[in-house]
């Protein structure tokens, strides 16, 4: 940081929009003082399709497939947040079994999403092996999703009022055997990444953000939990049936990229625990509530938030009593988390940009909407 005051020639460097470590099309304009970053301006919007305008022109049910395309690495969680918002607006009660199915799928999705993060993060830092390991386990989760929904990436599997199809035969047993396998594999990730001194030295102490600043910027999910703040909507503002499960919320004080790695690494184990509990308690019964054929929530408005793998996913809906929402807004966690990146990058080395950006876990489909 001492160097910044010195008079050196300032230089601007463009990173992206076409760059492998921006995880999509994101442009960062970096202002450099030698090797140090003095300022950074992110340019977003390359994937913008005015998701919200599209939403205003579709019926409530028709929006579900569009929510898949928000965060395409966690489609189940996006579906979940959206249908929950509409259900709250309508005052719908979802059958017990459907609630369990939702939690099971959303938590498996969280594991899959974190696996992608871990794999690509390793890739960003030059560790190719972890990428292959993570994709091996993610593949198994995708197989489970394919068995139940018929899709591998954009599931559109949640419905307003419940779930469209029950688990297939043997699905529960398959899922349990996957969890048993997955638990054995978790230490392998430590061996490849976390226990590696080179990796630790590479990520410790970079991308630091103070806890007060994190709250001020509205960070959420693993980003805020890596600042030592115990904040998880599954626990702090429980929705669905999350209050029935025992799980820990991993919190680390480090505030840096290393702490974010630790949070996500432990979250995978906790999500596996939730799925295990839910599978054990899974009740029999209906999976779909009685829902009118055309969905017309009463006039009113609602802001409903859920914990997606990236943080607080909020949907803001205004209904005028018709079949289409009057206003449909998505508060995407990655958009807000990305807005704090300039703060984290100040004083970092150019070589650390990739690591810091990777640790935020952005998905541009959700940032640009």
């Amino acid at each position: 940081m001492d160097r910044i005051g010195e008079t050196m020639e300032e230089m601007y460097v463009n990173m992206g929009p076409q760059h492998p470590s921006t995880h999509g099309v994101l442009r960062l304009l970096l202002k450099l003082d030698g090797e140090y970053i003095t300022d950074c301006v992110p340019y977003v919007g390359y994937l913008h399709r005015c998701h919200e305008k599209i939403g205003e022109n579709r019926t409530y049910t028709q929006i579900i497939p569009y929510t898949d395309r928000l965060d395409y690495l966690a489609s189940m969680s996006m579906n979940f947040g959206y249908v929950l918002t509409v259900e709250r607006l309508m005052g719908l009660k979802v059958p017990e079994r459907a609630e369990y199915m939702r939690v099971i799928l959303a938590e498996l999705q969280r594991i899959a999403s974190h696996l992608i993060w871990l794999g690509t993060f390793g890739l960003d830092l030059g560790n190719f092996t972890i990428f292959i390991y993570c994709f091996r386990e993610r593949e198994m989760i995708l197989d489970l999703f394919e068995a139940v929904s018929g899709q591998r990436l954009n599931y559109s599997f949640y419905r307003i009022g419940g779930m469209p199809m029950d688990f297939t035969e043997n699905w529960v047993a398959d899922c349990q055997s996957f969890l048993a396998w997955f638990k054995q594999k978790l230490p392998e990730y430590d061996a490849l990444m976390g226990d590696n001194v080179l990796f630790q030295k590479r990520v410790q102490g970079i991308g630091v953000i103070a806890p007060e600043m994190a709250v001020d910027y509205g960070l959420s999910g693993p980003m805020i939990r890596s600042c030592g703040i115990r904040w998880d909507l599954r626990r702090n503002d429980p929705y669905s049936i999350y209050d029935r499960f025992e799980f820990e919320i991993p919190v680390y004080e480090g505030r840096d990229v290393w702490a974010r790695y630790l949070v996500r690494r432990r979250e995978m184990a906790e999500s596996a625990r939730i799925v295990e509990h839910a599978l054990a308690q899974l009740p029999a019964g209906d999976i779909m509530a009685k829902v009118p054929k055309s969905i017309k929530p009463p006039a009113g408005q609602i802001y409903c938030r859920t914990e997606s793998p990236r943080g607080e996913l909020g949907f803001y809906l205004i209904s005028d009593g018709s079949t289409k929402p009057y206003r449909y807004k998505v508060r995407s966690p990655a958009f807000v988390n990305l807005s704090a990146v300039p703060e984290m990058l100040k004083g970092c080395l150019v070589a650390d940009v990739v690591a810091v950006l990777g640790s935020v876990d952005i998905v541009l489909g959700e940032v640009d909407r």
């Binding site: 001020d216 910027y217 509205g218 909020g314 205004i318 807004k329 508060r331 807005s339």
Partner: protein, 185 residues
């Protein structure tokens, strides 16, 4: 802080500037006059509402609205604050100096609704290109490139006058495969 208590305090402090206020569960729904919105936000921030969840807009045709969803990490009370603005030259004081999170949210609101945020440090479009004309989320926004959405398969069921039947179908017929294909990829 209890939602009822908070509403009482706000009403005492701001009087007529709070035009509507009610408690819905853990949420306080407020409508504030545009002139007082910054002061209300400042007060809320000082009262422990340190987390700005979301800032968005809405177009009510006769007026525009900016909506703030504010909460705290320490208690469950939430605030849903709405500020009505005129349609011509809508502007409101920026809250970026209260919550940094507002920075990008306000830029997005400006981008899509055309609301000006006075005192914003970086008042530019964010999602759309800088030379874009118009504000897409306004209800009267029109663009000749926008393809109206048709429920294919539904149009046969819609009652139509005899003479009209053939014409719209012939016009719409070549569109569906290419249009939906392009949107999906």
């Amino acid at each position: 802080m209890k939602p009822e208590e908070l509403l009482e305090q706000l009403k005492q402090k701001f009087g007529d500037a709070i035009t509507e206020g009610e408690v819905k569960g853990a949420e306080v729904c407020l409508t504030a006059a545009p002139g007082a919105s910054w002061e209300v936000c400042r007060f809320l921030r000082d009262a422990g509402f340190e987390y700005l969840n979301c800032l968005s807009g809405a177009d009510w045709i006769s007026r525009l609205e900016v909506v703030y969803d504010i909460s705290s990490l320490r208690h469950s009370t939430k605030v849903h604050l709405r500020v009505s603005l005129g349609r011509e030259n809508p502007s409101v004081r920026s809250v970026t100096d209260i919550w940094r999170a507002a920075n990008w949210h306000e830029r997005e609101c400006y981008d899509l609704f055309g609301v000006r945020f006075e005192g914003h440090p970086d008042h530019r479009r964010i999602l759309l290109p800088e030379d874009w004309v118009g504000f897409p989320l306004r209800k009267d926004y029109r663009d000749e490139r926008m393809v109206p959405y048709t429920d294919y398969g539904m149009e046969e069921k819609a009652p139509k006058a005899e003479g009209e039947k053939a014409a719209p179908k012939a016009a719409a017929a070549p569109k569906p495969p290419s249009a939906s294909g392009a949107a999906g990829s």
